[in-house]
C-alpha cells in the first residue's frame, strides 16, 4: 500500500487515478519483469510459436477448470505442461516438423477449449477477458501471485542460467561438458507454462507471446551480452506496461492490447537509428569452411 501511495503522489492526474489502476500497474510491472529474461530465451531459441501454442492451450485449461471446478491457475498450468510434454514426445518421433506439430496443437487446443466452453451452457464466462486480458480487474491476490510466481521464475532462471545459455548456443557442447541441456530445456518449458498461466489474466491468451518477444527484440540492439539483454528487456517491458496502461486510461482503449501497442512503439523506435548496422550482417555465425 505504501508503494501505491508513492505512485499516487508521483501521478500527475491524481483525481483520475483510482486504486484499480495501481493494482493494474503493479501487476503489469511484475509480469514485465518476469517476461523480459524469459522472452529473451524465447527469441534466442526461436520458440515464439511454442509460446503461442502454450498460450492458446490456456483456453483449454480455462474450460477444464470450469468443468471440473478446479483452480484456474492449476488447470491452465497443467494443460500447458501436458501440451509441452506432448510436443516433446511428438517431436521425438519426427513424423512431422516441429512447425506443423505446433500449428496442430496450438489451434486444436484453442478450438477444443472454445467448444467445451460452449457445451457448458450453465456457465457464463467473459471470453474476451480471457483472450485479451483484463488487467484492470486484478485483485491483490492476483498481484501477490504475479510477484511471487515472478520472483520464483526469475530465481529459477538465475540458477539455470549457465546451462540454458550454453544449450542455447550449442546443446551438444552443453551435453558434452556436463551441463544437462535436456533438463534445462524441460525446466524452461515448465517456467514458461507457469508464466503463461500467470500472465493470462493480464494481457490475455492471444497477446502473451507479444509481451515475451517484443521487449526482448527491442533490447537486442542495445545489448552486447545475453545478461544485459535479459535485464534490458525487463526494463523495456516495464516501460511498455506503464505506457500502455496510461494510454489505455487516457484514450479509453482496452488495456492488454494497449500494452502490446506500447511495446511495439518502443520496438519501432529502437529500429530507427542505425538500422543499417543490423542489416549489415544478419546471418548466423557458423563454422562452415568458406
Amino acid at each position: 500500500m505504501r508503494m501505491t501511495t508513492m505512485l499516487m503522489r508521483s501521478g500527475r492526474d491524481i483525481a483520475m487515478l483510482d486504486d484499480f489502476f495501481f493494482r493494474a500497474l503493479l501487476a503489469g510491472i511484475g509480469l514485465a519483469l518476469t517476461t523480459g529474461p524469459l522472452g529473451c530465451f524465447v527469441v534466442w531459441r526461436r520458440m515464439a510459436y511454442f509460446g503461442d501454442t502454450i498460450a492458446h492451450s490456456a483456453l483449454l485449461g480455462v474450460a477444464l477448470s470450469l468443468m471440473l471446478e478446479i483452480n484456474l491457475l492449476v488447470s491452465v498450468f497443467a494443460v500447458a505442461v501436458a501440451v509441452s510434454l506432448l510436443l516433446l514426445l511428438l517431436q521425438k518421433r519426427q513424423a512431422l516438423s516441429a512447425d506443423a506439430l505446433l500449428g496442430i496443437l496450438s489451434h486444436s487446443t484453442l478450438a477444443i477449449g472454445l467448444v467445451l466452453v460452449a457445451f457448458m451452457s450453465w456457465v457464463r464466462i467473459d471470453l474476451i477477458a480471457f483472450l485479451f486480458g483484463d488487467i484492470l480487474a486484478v485483485t491483490p491476490a492476483d498481484i501477490a501471485l504475479i510477484w511471487g510466481g515472478g520472483l520464483f521464475v526469475l530465481a529459477a532462471l538465475v540458477v539455470l542460467w549457465r546451462p540454458l545459455i550454453a544449450s542455447t548456443v550449442s546443446a551438444d557442447i552443453a551435453e558434452a561438458e556436463g551441463l544437462k541441456p535436456e533438463r534445462a530445456r524441460l525446466l524452461f518449458m515448465l517456467l514458461m507454462a507457469l508464466v503463461i498461466a500467470i500472465a493470462m489474466k493480464i494481457v490475455g491468451i492471444m497477446l502473451i507471446t507479444a509481451l515475451l518477444i517484443i521487449p526482448a527484440a527491442t533490447a537486442r540492439r542495445f545489448s552486447s551480452a545475453p545478461e544485459g539483454m535479459a535485464v534490458l528487456s525487463s526494463l523495456i517491458g516495464v516501460i511498455a506496461v506503464v505506457g500502455g496502461l496510461f494510454g489505455s486510461l487516457t484514450y479509453d482503449t482496452p488495456s492488454g492490447p494497449s500494452i502490446v501497442v506500447a511495446a511495439l512503439v518502443l520496438f519501432i523506435l529502437s529500429l530507427l537509428p542505425g538500422r543499417a548496422k543490423n542489416l549489415a550482417r544478419d546471418g548466423t555465425s557458423s563454422g562452415g569452411r568458406s
Partner: protein, 339 residues
C-alpha cells in the same frame, strides 16, 4: 621414423573413454555400428572416413551427446571434456562476445581466457561479437574455449575447417603442444584424408563401421583404406611419405610397374635428379614442412588425377604453396622424416 614414442610411453589402462561394439541407429538405419575404440591419456586418436561414415556420430557417442543403441561406452568418472562440434549455428539475436563464449560452460579467469585466445592466435578478438567472426576466426574461438577448460579429453570435430592454410598447421601444432603439455587425450576428426595430424597415435578409418585402424602409416597402406578412398596412395603421405619407386644402388629408379629409368618421372618437369629428399624444388625454402602442408592443401586432385604416376609422392606441386609459409617454419617440423 613415425611418431610412436607417445604410444609406447603411454600407460596402458589409463583409459579416458572406451567404446565396445558401440552403434547408433536412427530410423531403423545404423549410422555407425560395432565401433571399438579407446582413448588413453596423452593419446591422439584420429577418425577419418568419407561423408556419412559416422565420424561425428562416433565422437558424440564417445562423449555422451548420443547414447549408444548397442554396445558399451565407458567414460572415466568425472571426465572433463572439451568439445568443438562440427557445426554450430548461433542465432544472431543472442549478443555474444568472444569473451562470453569462452565462459560458456564454466568459470574462467581473465588470464586463462587471454592465454587460450593467444594460443589460437586471436587475442585481439576478445571483445568482438561472435556473429561478426569469419568462419576461421570462429573456429579458433571454439578451439580456445575448449582448451581453456583444461580438459582431460579434447574432442575436435574438424577443428581447422575454414581456417586459412597457414593457420591450419599452426593449429595442429598447437593441438600437439596441448597434448604434450597437459597430457590430455585427444579425439580428432578429419574430413581431409590427406591431412591427418602428424602426431596421431592411432588412425581409425570409419565407413559405417571400423574399416581399418592402426598407425597412420599402417592405415594408409591397408587394402581397406585404399578400397574405401580409391587408390590414392598419397592419402596419408603426411607421415610416411610413400614412394612408388625405389632408388636402385646404381642411381637408377625402379618404378611400381617394374620399369627402370634413369630419373624419377623425368617428363613431369617437377623432379630433380637423384631424388635425394632434400626437396629443394624451385628454390623455395622452408622445406621442413612443405610436404605436410602441400598435402593438406591439395587433397585429391594432385594425386589421383593427372598425376597417377605420382602415387605416394607429393612433390608435384609444392612450389605452388610454399611461398605462403616461409614464415611458419615452426609449423609442423617434419623435416626429420625425409632426412
Amino acid at each position: 621414423m613415425l611418431m610412436q614414442t607417445a604410444v609406447s610411453e603411454r600407460q596402458k589402462g589409463d583409459e579416458l573413454v572406451t567404446l565396445v561394439g558401440a552403434g547408433i541407429r536412427r530410423n531403423s538405419r545404423w549410422l555407425v555400428r560395432g565401433v571399438d575404440l579407446s582413448i588413453h591419456r596423452g593419446e591422439i586418436v584420429t577418425l577419418i572416413g568419407p561423408n556419412g561414415a559416422g565420424k561425428s556420430t562416433t565422437a558424440k557417442m564417445a562423449i555422451g551427446v548420443l547414447r549408444a543403441d548397442e554396445g558399451k561406452v565407458n567414460r572415466k568418472p568425472g571426465l572433463k571434456i572439451g568439445y568443438v562440434p562440427q557445426k554450430l549455428a548461433i542465432d544472431w539475436t543472442m549478443p555474444l562476445s568472444v569473451r562470453r563464449l569462452m565462459r560458456l560452460t564454466g568459470k574462467l579467469d581473465d588470464g586463462a581466457l587471454m592465454a587460450a585466445l593467444t594460443d589460437v592466435g586471436i587475442p585481439h578478438l576478445v571483445d568482438a561479437e561472435v556473429r561478426h567472426l569469419s568462419g576461421g576466426e570462429f573456429q579458433r574461438a571454439l578451439l580456445a574455449r575448449a582448451i581453456a577448460r583444461n580438459p582431460d579429453l579434447l574432442v575436435l570435430d574438424e577443428p581447422v575447417q575454414g581456417v586459412d592454410f597457414a593457420g591450419e598447421s599452426a593449429l595442429y601444432e598447437l593441438i600437439r603442444t596441448i597434448r604434450n603439455k597437459t597430457g590430455c587425450g585427444i579425439l580428432l576428426i578429419s574430413h581431409d584424408l590427406h591431412m591427418v595430424m602428424a602426431d596421431t597415435d592411432t588412425v581409425i578409418c570409419l565407413n559405417g563401421h571400423v574399416c581399418c585402424r592402426g598407425t597412420p602409416e599402417a592405415v594408409s597402406r591397408s587394402d581397406d583404406y585404399r578400397r574405401l578412398f580409391g587408390n590414392v596412395g598419397a592419402g596419408l603421405a603426411v607421415y610416411s611419405h610413400h614412394h612408388d619407386h625405389t632408388h636402385l644402388p646404381d642411381g637408377r629408379v625402379q618404378h611400381k610397374d617394374g620399369s627402370v629409368t634413369d630419373h624419377c618421372h623425368p617428363d613431369d618437369g617437377h623432379h630433380h635428379d637423384g631424388h635425394d629428399h632434400k626437396h629443394d624444388h624451385y628454390g623455395h625454402h622452408d622445406h621442413s614442412h612443405a610436404h605436410v602442408e602441400e598435402t593438406s592443401n591439395n587433397p585429391v586432385h594432385a594425386h589421383d588425377g593427372n598425376h597417377t604416376s605420382h602415387q605416394g609422392h607429393v612433390d608435384g606441386e609444392i612450389g605452388k604453396n610454399s611461398h605462403a609459409h616461409d614464415d611458419h617454419a615452426h609449423a609442423v617440423g617434419e623435416g626429420h622424416r625425409h632426412a
